[in-house]
């Protein structure tokens, strides 16, 4: 079937390429020999300037060339300019002509025979116009039998000096007008004599009013247009190909990477996207090198399906699935949370990218079809330019640190009646201001405050470092260009073996390898090259990229999680004045943690992305593209710990876990997990565009095409335990298991799009795509429509005379409507079975057992978006404003529900039961505050408001995930992934001991909880704003800074315990803590157990006992972050010449994550322990603070 459909697509291509010309030849052109001859005769009138032109003798012999080419060549010989409207397909017709020493008029007669065209010489005799009768001015003027005046000219760009096609030229006060051709030439006939105003307009240029004295002589004018800065110039890369931004009625953010990297430190693609795109939210999982980030555009739509955008690079779809560390993806050794799978997005060196375009929702991406509902990120890599070889080189050296201090842990000590020092956390009465009879006897100053992460001897954090080297080389000749780039990057993470542990191990004579001392790091090398060949009107682009990635990580999460819990007693009480540590040997509390560093966890990957893109334009009116590509990545993940590496010295921290089932604790046995996987993403895309000019004002561009995408993952995993002493291979382990998994996901679709244009002012694109997905089955083929008109109102006559509004430079109104979808995996739809066995009547039989219920009624999740907005440029382009309001509704959202037990004993099933709304406003401002020769100051400001709401949830609406006193719930009228907890409705010190105690079963004693959970917030910011500033001084100094502010998102505070009910919290150890704080801390105290105090899958379900509330742990947060600071200096050539290079050199000092102001009581709210939608900072390394020096040469 695949072959069949491919053949259909190939046939389609063939039809596009072959028969259209025949159709046109048969029906499009009529021969009007008489008129032509007549005009020729007229041209031969003696004494006329034109007659000498037509009498010019020419010779020409060409084969299989376009008619346009032949006409131009003939004109050249006569040293005259030939003008024709090249959108007329006749000029693309292939002809063979041989004329030898004939007059120009005879030559034209031969060449134009069989067409409806005729040659007309302008009155001045310098230009020959080829046109059909209805395009020509009146015949009488044409032949200049009676006096006639035409105004001709050429329009050029003031900066590039290149010709400007498409400009509208009009004679004010008349209906005379025309449009400049591809060479910038224009001619207006029949212009009345006298003083006239020539008005020349083109979007992106300042309008020109040119006074012309029209006399009896023809006028030839040169017009120079000055480009103005506007946010609407340029092109965007849509599913149907390149389109002018002006024609697309969506707000599409285009990031020109070089302009960003020149002034800001950008280390990765996600780093580049963060804070630069209104409506796009980036959440890093951690500050560890290579850690992936979660990207969400315009909120979240899906409850159980993916919310990730898709990524297109150089025309093909690439793997961009950001997976959490423990997800069972190819290459993941599945060793719990220890494994770190490198982000596929961040494996793309930003230095090799020309632009990144972000299409934010279905109204912009409908033609990408299924899977695109969450937005599309389009990456275009750098291309070479013809000319001398250019090269750039850059070196970056940086250092990273952990900003700020970690909150302390607390412990209160007392002395029992027999003099033993004891922990009073469980017997506070004795240390309360009211005293107590037994257990602890209060002693002043016994409240210990400590945090090993802040102690330089015991902390697991040191200084990280990074080095990056990049280079590019590009150039080529006309018709063949190239660009190559490469980069090498090495990072060492912050984590280190605590100094005290290293010292102890050394004293014990234990060898500590270097990787154990600094267990975190990453290395990446990338190389990319592309070749562009242009043959005639066709172009072939080949791009190839190779990336090698290596990440070494550590059970860091455990280290942080456990270290944060260590109380002072676990360290060394002697430092607090006690004669000896009553609990443990010196340092053992820390020492046992270092067992985590014995585990070596690495992930290596090789990835290659190749695309071949052919743009074949056989005719001027037909543009076709064929693109094929493959993104292939092979990963090997290894997690191992040698036999003997775990000793009693490290307790059960080292190598604990039960990978093979059973209850074995690995201890000294050793372990070796290996996983190898491959991800293959294939793309095949064909498309064709046919532009049609219905008349001078109306244009039509129709695009048709189709694509096929597939993503396959293969993974083989082996886990082995029980290594022989000294063995490093899992082959000799006494227990081994193997597993194999595969995934396959495919989509295919066809589309038709038409863009109707009126007077270069109003564009009306409409389109539809029909889609098929491997997860939907044969019966479901969704259609996704799109409509996104754009209206340049500022070009309306009289606009600029409107008070106030007329002062605005350019105003564009836009609106968009579109749909897109998300498909499930195949297994979600179908009822699947496994073959098993059993005994019936004493005989073994083969059984066919239901494996999963499936849901044959599953439909694609469909998101509809409506977007409207305006783009305004004013002050000669120094101030640009983009306003957008959108609303998107996801219907039939996928929800994996619990099937009632009365149906086949229960289970899970994905259903279409939800409707979700995302709405918001996006404001983008670009302002050039200063624009002098010595100083230039530019600001970019973005503001986004996002509202997410679950509109409807079907019959199975009661579900959620409990997590120790707080629950993620899906409730109509509230955002997805909302956090809910039982409220504290009262508290009182009933027993008068000075403490509010509670937690667990005792919570109702002194803390009263409400019966119904309350909404606390959702994990996505309601408001996000960012400010980027670039200041350029004396052309060689640049200063840049960036701030980002987010507000209204929840973060679950797990990173340390001071407010989460732990016995190490200040609230539960310091009697001076206010009752309010004690109550909220104590209420969470009983929630650490897995009893899911809110009641398993149903909050407040009947029969469930409420035990605790983590309401104080889930915090609704604001965060203002000083993201970047950069100071750069471009060394003048006069100085670099002294150094012997004479090249342009640039030096920059750049800093990242330089400040954080937040109400969050944890370390940093912008982390997430997994890629899940619910933010938790459980054991996560917060974002680092980095400083780096960059030296670049080009």
């Amino acid at each position: 079937m695949i072959v069949k459909t491919l053949s259909i697509l190939i046939m389609l291509c063939a039809m596009i390429l072959a028969p259209a010309s025949e159709l046109l030849a048969q029906k499009g052109v009529t021969v009007r020999t008489d008129e032509m001859m007549d005009s020729d005769r007229q041209d031969k009138s003696p004494g006329d300037a034109k007659s000498s032109v037509t009498a010019t003798v020419v010779s020409l012999s060409v084969k299989d060339s376009t008619l346009g080419y032949v006409l131009r060549e003939l004109g050249k010989q006569a040293k005259k300019q030939v003008i024709y409207v090249n959108s007329n397909p006749v000029f693309a017709r292939r002809v063979s002509v041989t004329v030898n020493k004939v007059s120009l008029s005879d030559a034209f007669a031969v060449v134009l025979k069989g067409t409806s065209l005729a040659a007309t010489v302008t009155p001045g005799g310098n230009t020959i116009v080829i046109s059909s009768p209805d395009q020509r001015p009146e015949t009488s003027d044409t032949l200049s039998k009676k006096p006639a005046v035409s105004v001709s000219g050429k329009i050029t760009d003031s900066a590039s000096k290149l010709a400007i096609p498409g400009a509208t030229v009009a004679i004010s006060g008349t209906s005379l007008s025309t449009v400049s051709d591809d060479d910038g030439n224009f001619t207006i006939y029949n212009v009345p004599l006298g003083e006239r105003q020539l008005n020349v307009k083109l979007f992106g240029y300042k309008s020109v009013n040119h006074s012309v004295s029209v006399t009896s002589k023809d006028q030839l004018i040169r017009i120079v247009m000055v480009p103005i800065a506007t946010s609407l110039t340029g092109v965007v890369t849509t599913a149907t190909g390149t389109q002018r931004k002006l024609e697309v009625g969506n707000d599409i953010t285009v990031i020109k990477v070089d302009s960003v990297m020149k002034v800001m430190p950008v280390s990765s693609l996600t780093d580049l996207l963060a804070t630069r795109v209104p409506g796009l939210n980036v959440s890093p999982t951690s500050g560890s090198p290579g850690a992936p980030s979660r990207i969400r555009i315009r909120g979240v739509s899906s409850i159980n399906a993916t919310n990730d955008p898709i990524v297109i690079m150089d025309g093909i779809r690439i793997n961009a699935v950001q997976i959490e560390n423990s997800e069972n993806e190819a290459g993941d050794a599945s060793r719990g949370s220890n494994q770190l799978v490198p982000s596929p997005l961040d494996g793309i060196d930003p230095n090799s990218i020309e632009t990144v375009e972000v299409f934010k929702g279905p109204s912009a991406v409908a033609l990408y079809g299924t899977d695109a509902a969450n937005g599309v990120i389009v990456i275009t890599t750098k291309r070479g330019q013809a000319g001398p070889t250019r090269w750039t080189a850059e070196g970056i050296w940086g250092q990273s640190t952990m900003p700020g201090k970690w909150p302390s842990n607390y412990m209160r000590f007392g002395t029992t009646i027999d003099g033993t020092i004891t922990d009073c956390a469980g017997n506070r009465e004795a240390t309360s201001p009211f005293g107590g009879p037994a257990g602890c006897k209060g002693i002043d100053g016994s409240l210990l405050e400590y945090q090993i992460l802040n102690d330089p001897h015991t902390t697991v954090f040191g200084k990280g470092s990074n080095q990056t080297y990049r280079g590019t080389i590009s150039g080529g000749v006309r018709g063949l260009t190239y660009s190559f780039s490469g980069s090498a990057e090495k990072k060492i993470g912050l984590t280190k073996m605590p100094d005290v542990d290293f010292q102890i191990l050394r004293e014990l004579g234990t060898h500590v390898p270097a990787w154990q001392r600094r267990p975190e790091g990453s290395e990446m090398q990338t190389g990319m090259g592309n070749l562009t060949a242009e043959i005639g009107m066709s172009r072939i682009l080949f791009t190839s990229r190779l990336t090698r990635n290596f990440v070494r990580t550590t059970p860091l999460k455990q280290a942080i999680s456990i270290a944060r819990l260590l109380d002072p007693a676990g360290v060394d009480l002697t430092r607090f004045g006690f004669e000896s540590n009553p609990y443990s040997a010196i340092g053992s509390g820390i020492l046992r943690e270092i067992g985590n560093f014995r585990e070596q966890t690495t992930n290596r990957s090789i990835r290659t992305i190749n695309s071949l893109q052919g743009q074949i334009n056989p005719y001027s009116w037909l543009m076709t593209t064929v693109t094929a590509g493959i993104d292939l990545e092979n990963m090997i993940g290894v997690s191992k710990i040698g036999r003997g590496e775990c000793t009693e010295l490290f307790g059960d921290r080292c190598g604990s876990g039960d990978d093979l089932g059973g209850s074995a604790v690995l201890g000294n046995g050793g372990r070796h997990n290996t996983s190898q996987g491959t991800i293959i993403q294939n793309s095949f895309i064909v498309g064709a565009s046919i532009p049609v000019s219905l008349n001078r004002w109306i244009s039509l561009k129709t695009s048709i095409g189709g694509d096929y995408q597939s993503r396959r993952t293969d993974k083989v995993s082996r886990k082995a335990e029980g290594l022989s002493l000294g063995a490093t291979s899992g082959n000799v382990a006494d227990r081994q298991i193997m597993s194999e998994s595969r995934g396959d996901r495919r989509t295919a679709g066809v589309y038709v799009e038409t863009i109707l244009g009126f007077a270069n002012q109003f564009y009306f694109p409409f389109a539809i795509r029909a889609d098929a997905g491997s997860g939907l089955g044969e019966s479901v083929m969704p259609k996704f429509p799109k409509l996104n008109p754009s209206f340049l109102v500022s070009d309306l006559p009289g606009f600029h005379s409107i008070p106030f509004i007329g002062k605005l430079g350019t105003v564009r109104l836009r609106a968009a409507y579109g749909q897109s979808g998300v498909q499930p995996s195949v297994a979600e739809k179908l009822r699947t079975y496994t073959r098993g066995s059993g005994i019936v009547d004493g005989t073994s039989v083969a059984t066919t057992d239901i494996n999963s219920l499936g849901n044959l009624l599953l439909r694609p999740e469909r998101t509809t978006e409506i977007e409207g907005g305006a783009d305004i440029d004013m002050l000669d382009g120094r101030l640009s404003l983009s306003l957008t309001k959108y609303r998107k509704r996801t219907l039939d959202a996928y929800v994996t529900i619990d099937v009632p037990n009365s149906v086949n004993g229960g289970g899970k099933q994905m259903r279409n039961v939800g409707n979700v709304d995302n709405s918001g406003e996006e404001i983008g401002v670009q302002a050039t505050l200063l624009q002098k020769s010595a100083i230039w100051w530019h600001l970019t400001f973005n503001l986004t408001r996002t509202k997410n709401e679950l509109i409807k949830l079907g019959r199975d609406s009661l579900f959620g995930v409990a997590n120790g006193g707080v629950q993620t719930r899906f409730v109509e009228g509230y955002p997805l992934f909302g956090q809910w907890a039982l409220p504290i409705v009262g508290y009182s010190d009933l027993n008068g001991d000075g403490w509010i105690t509670g937690g667990g079963l005792n919570i109702q004693n002194e803390i009263q909880l409400g019966e119904t959970p309350v909404y606390l917030g959702a994990p996505y910011p309601k408001y996000e704003t960012s400010l980027h500033s670039t200041l350029s001084l004396f052309r060689n100094i640049s200063v840049g800074f960036a701030f980002n502010f987010q507000n209204g998102f929840t973060q679950k505070l797990d990173s340390y315990e001071s407010f989460s009910g732990s016995s190490k919290s200040k609230a539960l150890n310091d009697p001076r803590t206010p009752f309010f704080t004690q109550a909220y801390s104590s209420a969470a105290g009983g929630c650490s157990v897995s009893n899911a105090s809110l009641g398993g899958t149903g909050v407040g379900s009947p029969g469930r006992t409420t035990l605790c509330s983590s309401i104080g742990v889930v915090q609704t947060v604001y965060a203002l972050r000083f993201n970047n600071l950069s100071v750069g200096y471009t060394i003048p050539r006069s100085i670099t010449s002294l150094l012997g290079t004479g090249r342009k050199m640039r030096v920059a000092l750049q800093g990242k994550n330089l400040g954080l102001w937040s109400n969050y009581t944890g370390k940093d709210p912008k982390v997430n322990s997994s890629m899940s939608e619910v933010l938790r900072d459980t054991g996560v390394l917060p974002p680092n603070r980095e400083w780096q020096i960059t030296i670049g040469v080009n």
Partner: protein, 475 residues
Amino acid sequence: MQLFIPGFAKMRSIIFLSLFLCASGCSLSDLVGGDSLPSDTSDPGVVKTPEGALGAYYSATVALTRAVGAGWGGSVVMASGLMTDELHSINARLLTAAAAFPTGVSAVDARAEAMDKEGEPLYNALNLVRGRTREAVGALRKYYPQASPDLIAHLFAIEGMAEVMLAEFFCSGIPLSTLNFEGDYTLKAGSSTQDVLQHSLSLFDSARALSADSSRFIHFASIGRARALIALHDVSAAAQAVADVPTEYNYLLFFGVDSFSLFKTSENTWSLSVSNKEGHNGLHFITDADPRTVSDSLTGSGGPWVPRKYVNGGIPGSNPGSGPINFASGVEARLIEAEAALISEDGNWLAILNKLRTSCLEAIGCPTPAPAGTGGIANLPLLNDPGIESLPEGKTVQDVRLDLLFRERAYWLFLTGRRQGDLRRLVQQYNREQDTVYPIGLWGVQGLAAYGSRIYLPVPVREQETNHLYRGCED
């Protein structure tokens, strides 16, 4: 407006190509593989063959086997034994939990201390049987139409049995939701115990009608029908239903020698023991040394006690519970007839019981070989009518006769999942005080917790959380 002619021609070609493209779109699903599955996914097609349909049939029968005897954390035999006087838990974890939460563990309150989440595993296992029977009926009818109708009859009977057991164990208000073959599912509100049993009767009737050629399945359906009827307290009708079932008939559920887990919980440890005079009211299953309940000490002296009838090859400690369970038998048919005779004051009831004692054959589930020293079936003495002896205080003749009858049922049907239904009937149909029937007082080897007051299990909370039609127990 007059269109520019060449452009118009182009448009027509575009329209033509677009139409062609749309037409080709019909095969897009072929391009993406339509319903094809990733290679590691179980193929839905395996059920779409006669072999697959037959496999679905076996799947349902195996589901019944596991629900009755091999549920990890919940099976009919285990639940019945724990809720009544047949078994007690020796699982340290459960005992500890019971001690820590003497009033907070509803499973204890429901008497079945091994029932995690109020019997949810048992509830799931019985509904799994129901789901699989529906699936198998659909598969056989569509993909193996030439199969013997006996198979479908068997499936109806199995489904009926599952519903009878749901009615015996769970509260009134049981949702009989259905899984639709090659479709969705249909949720149902709770049905009363009577309605569930009536529904099972219709299934048994269907089974009997379909399996006209198979006496084996007819007898199985007849016994099921009788079970439903005695649960509805229509004992005479029950007796009529089993009149044709020969005493030699049995319906055995087999287990793999290595896989049976009747006496194991999810912790994979030996965690149950046969009880002896459990909770004051319990029968003396150990000390009576009755060959029908003979058990062996796991330690050689004292408990835990392992029922010999379920030890494969008679080797204590090895694969306990690998012997087959006699799930439906002619013995039970005769016991039902005896009960009907007793209720109708037909003097034949005692003769029926004694005939069973003297004519027990290996084929009807007598312990074989008769363990040395236990006397064997042949040594079972004939019963005397207790009604002609001196009556205990407060008891009538009918009371003591019923006691004897139910004692005989307890021994004949020992650890086959019948005891819970019997005790519940004694309370609800014969008006016995609950505390005189079910175990009372402290339970467990250490006596850590008190038996609760329920005589049935509640439908799991999860059902109420997920089934919007369900409103909870009615009683």
